[in-house]
């Protein structure tokens, strides 16, 4: 009886999977709104599935459900330059306070991953280097720069300042956490079901969204940095080549034909937005309306008040998407962005602005789309293959071993139920290769029984009585069975550790299948055989 208990439990657990689509609809209804009445409605419409039956289902992988997957790499270096730029103010203050020793200096080149300063002479530069490397400068509570954050390198009369490795690491950590959060928010905002967003390694993020039409669609959501800034416009040109002041930048418009010279420091930026919604402008063109938080709202209001008649640039990810002339004072911190959007684009931009900007750019390393048709096809073909394969194996076993084959077949079916139950319980994801793993297990599961039956046969040839033959057969076969299955299990474990996605699914079903098939072969069939011998007392068997 102790053998049958786990089998019955397994049957209980696996039972909802045989009515997958209906149970899923009910589960979705329960998730959508927990109200009992609404759920009852859904239940009524569907074929019999009472609520006292279990409702936990196997997760279907992306390849079976259809959906999109992308693997992206966060360009961590992006946030280095932002940090260095942020330190520049403090750095300048510190160096200026020691002007009598180090003289005057100037920043050369643009802000990047590092910052280069040029001093009057070699001596002055080494004085400054000493000051910065010995970390003896005063740090006020207000400054964001701490001595341990930076690394100073000198060549000639130039100092190059970059982030220390320690600081890079902590920035990396922050950048990854923030990126994960923003991506999660954006995917959630888009209203997709059960997305999975995982960090992989130091700088990668794997995003899987079942039911999404294509990876390109997903990338439109997560691929954009969506950094929105509002700048004062200093000039407009038709080429990008222009002499700039050190606090100016030049950016193209959407068509790439016009260039705007802007003040580098934005008046306000997208971080201060509290809300963004798709809407339409006066001319009924798609637009995005937004709302600033009080501080930024006041800043924006003051700026518009004192710059009436001046152009004002709205910049998204390094492109000027619109540069309206300020018509009047805009109080209350609300505004509208018009550009050449389609309705879809304005919807998407609103989502991106609400979710916030990514702290760094991302690079797409891998993208995969499985259409829902292929997913459904795959489930169907997997089912057919499993049934056909199963029937072949069942017939073959009966043909070879007659009565004992029947026992092996019963054990095989119990084995299937066990596999499904284990997969459901551990929350494993079933993929198409996973189904292949189950079908392969059907073929290999009978192996243990074949080994045992062949042994029993040999024992009978030695003129043992039936009970002894069965007993010896099992004992002698055990060593082979264990050895044989451990080797396959090792391969499954290696697959699990190194495989990704679908391959992992295969290794799980293969591994689980090995464990359950050993259990059923050794215990379940033995029980059947002993019961058969007890009740029917056959003189001979296994022709």
């Amino acid at each position: 009886m102790t053998i049958f208990m786990p089998c019955l439990v397994a049957l209980w657990i696996s039972v909802p999977n045989f009515n997958y689509s209906n149970v899923e609809i009910i589960n979705d209804a329960v998730l959508a709104d927990g109200e009992a009445e609404a759920v009852q409605e859904v239940r009524k419409k569907l074929p019999f599935w009472p609520d006292w039956l279990p409702n936990k289902l196997i997760n279907l992988g992306l390849d079976l459900r259809g959906g999109a997957q992308v693997l992206v790499e966060v360009i961590l270096e992006d946030s280095y330059s932002e940090n260095i730029t942020g330190y520049w103010g403090d750095l300048r203050k510190i160096l200026r306070s020691q002007r009598e020793n180090i003289g005057s200096f100037r920043r050369t080149g643009q802000f990047g991953e590092n910052l280069t300063l040029e001093f009057e002479s070699f001596e002055k530069a080494s004085q400054a280097e000493k000051l910065l490397t010995l970390k003896i400068y005063p740090v006020s509570d207000l400054s964001i720069l701490k001595p341990e954050y930076i690394e100073v390198l000198r060549s000639g009369k130039r100092l190059t300042i970059e982030l220390s490795n320690l600081q890079k690491e902590s920035i990396n950590k922050l950048t990854m956490e923030k990126s994960l959060e923003i991506i999660r928010r954006r995917v959630d905002e888009a209203g997709t079901r059960e997305p999975s967003i995982q960090r992989q390694g130091d700088s990668r993020i794997l995003v899987q969204v079942p039911g999404m039409g294509s990876a390109e669609e997903l990338l439109q959501l997560i691929g954009k940095t969506a950094r929105l800034t509002f700048h004062k416009v200093s000039g407009q040109k038709t080429t990008s080549e222009h002499q700039l002041d050190s606090d100016q930048i030049i950016l193209p418009d959407e068509g790439g034909n016009n260039y705007f010279i802007l003040e580098q420091v934005p008046v306000v930026s997208g971080e201060s937005l509290t809300n963004a919604q798709p809407s339409f402008d006066q001319n009924n063109r798609p637009a995005v309306s937004f709302q600033f938080n009080p501080t930024a709202g006041r800043k924006f209001g003051d700026y518009t008040k004192s710059n009436i008649g001046e152009p004002f640039a709205i910049v998204l990810d390094g492109v000027v998407i619109s540069a309206p002339v300020i018509q009047s004072h805009i109080p209350g911190g609300t505004g509208i962005i018009t550009g050449s959007f389609s309705v879809d684009e304005s919807n998407r931009l609103a989502i991106l602005l609400r979710a916030g900007a990514l702290p760094a750019g991302i690079r797409v390393l891998e993208q995969r789309t499985v259409g829902p048709e292929l997913g459904a096809d795959s489930i169907q073909s997997g089912k057919v293959a499993a049934i056909v394969g199963g029937v072949f194996v069942l017939l073959f076993m009966i043909f070879i071993y007659r009565t004992f084959g029947l026992f092996a077949n019963l054990a095989l079916m119990i084995n299937m139920v066990l596999i499904i139950a284990v997969l459901t319980t551990i929350g494993a994801t079933l993929t198409l290769p996973g189904i292949a793993g189950i079908v392969l297990t059907i073929g290999m599961a009978v192996d243990a029984n074949v080994i045992i039956f062949e042994r029993i046969k040999e024992e009978i040839k030695r003129k043992k009585n039936t009970f002894d033959a069965v007993k010896n057969g099992y004992e002698m076969a055990l060593s082979s069975i264990i050895d044989a299955n451990v080797t396959t299990f090792i391969a499954a474990v290696v697959l699990f550790c190194f495989g990704s996605g679908p391959i992992k699914g295969f290794s799980i079903t293969l591994g689980v299948g090995i464990l359950t098939s050993v259990f059923t072969a050794i215990y379940v069939t033995r029980l059947f055989i002993l019961m058969y011998l007890n009740w029917f007392k056959p003189k001979t068997f296994l022709v």
Partner: protein, 319 residues
């Protein structure tokens, strides 16, 4: 059922020669022709499209030609299940090569192709569209090789612990034989070699060992029983005694695999082909190769220090 007693070593020159020849040919093909790597390992894009029966592959090719995609090819997917049932659909597979030095995935290429094909062929349905950047594909190659080496080492250690080093060598020889020949077949037939095939190779390693270990287990048992007989005879008897099991298990596994090959759909076909080859070669090698290596290496004959009572050898671990 009468006792079988085939002499498996009678034609050892033929069988060993055949195996060596096959392994050498496989290695040569692999070396000269290489493998038809899929986008997992080479980078690039793969798009699978379903269209109805009237679709003409030439029209697709023409359209793609006009797009300036660089190196690409388009093929029609063969599906035995569909050709049996006079299918009303055709499936096309488009592969686009990664441009040199491009590390990222070709997102734009895929969206361009999607847009254009949807415009021109109204019935076309995108089943699958994958793109893998060179950076990731390089890592996947590395991971694949590491996983195979690791699996081989792990089972080598296991067999060595449970048996003797000669057995481990025999098992590994059989296993390398199986894996190499499978790779050889993939090279000759230009079948796509992708991540799933690595999984298949690892399964073949597991299966090949499974087969070999059952034979070895019997060898060990018989060596204990008949410490006086010639090694050749003991080995031959062991192979004979386990022969029906070897065949029957292969048959059931093959039945399941053939069902998968025919009905399992396009996505699984390469994977299942590899497994079918591996199971056939694996059964052959456990009969002809593994025991042959044991015969060449010779085995420890003095097993008397371990319990001689049948049925308890499970607990003996010969480290």
């Amino acid at each position: 059922m009468q006792d079988r007693n085939y002499d498996f070593f009678k034609y050892r020159k033929v069988t060993s020669g055949l195996s060596i020849a096959l392994v050498v040919i496989s290695a040569l093909f692999f070396g000269v022709l290489g493998l038809n790597y899929g986008i997992d390992f080479k980078g690039g894009s793969m798009i699978m499209i379903k269209d109805d029966k009237t679709a003409v592959i030439g029209e697709y090719r023409e359209l793609l030609n006009s797009m300036n995609l660089g190196d690409f090819n388009i093929t029609e997917v063969f599906d035995p299940a569909k050709s049996l049932g006079a299918s009303s659909e055709k499936t096309f597979l488009i592969r686009i090569e990664q441009s040199q030095g491009d590390q990222a995935a070709q997102s734009e290429v895929i969206s361009d192709v999607r847009e254009l094909i949807n415009k021109k062929f109204s019935k076309a349905l995108f089943l699958q569209a994958d793109s893998v950047g060179a950076k990731v594909s390089g890592e996947l190659v590395q991971k694949g090789i590491i996983s195979i080496v690791l699996a081989v080492c792990a089972v080598l250690i296991y067999v060595w612990l449970r048996f003797e080093w000669q057995f481990a060598i025999g098992a590994i020889a059989a296993l390398i034989h199986d894996v190499l020949i499978t790779i050889g077949v993939f090279s000759v037939l230009r079948l796509e070699f992708n991540l799933a095939i690595i999984a298949a190779l690892l399964t073949i390693i597991g299966y090949s060992l499974n087969d070999t270990v059952v034979v070895f287990d019997r060898v060990r048992e018989n060596l204990k029983k008949n410490s006086k007989s010639l090694l050749e005879i003991v080995l031959n008897n062991s192979v004979n005694e386990t022969l029906s099991r070897t065949i029957r298990t292969s048959v059931t596994t093959l039945l399941a695999l053939i069902a998968l090959f025919v009905f399992g759909g396009d996505v699984l076909r390469g994977f299942v082909s590899a497994l079918i080859i591996g199971v056939v070669v694996g059964s052959y090698s456990s009969v002809f190769i593994a025991s042959r290596i044991l015969l060449i290496l010779g085995v420890k004959r003095d097993w008397n220090n371990v319990g001689s009572k049948a049925g308890t050898q499970f607990s003996n671990i010969d480290a």
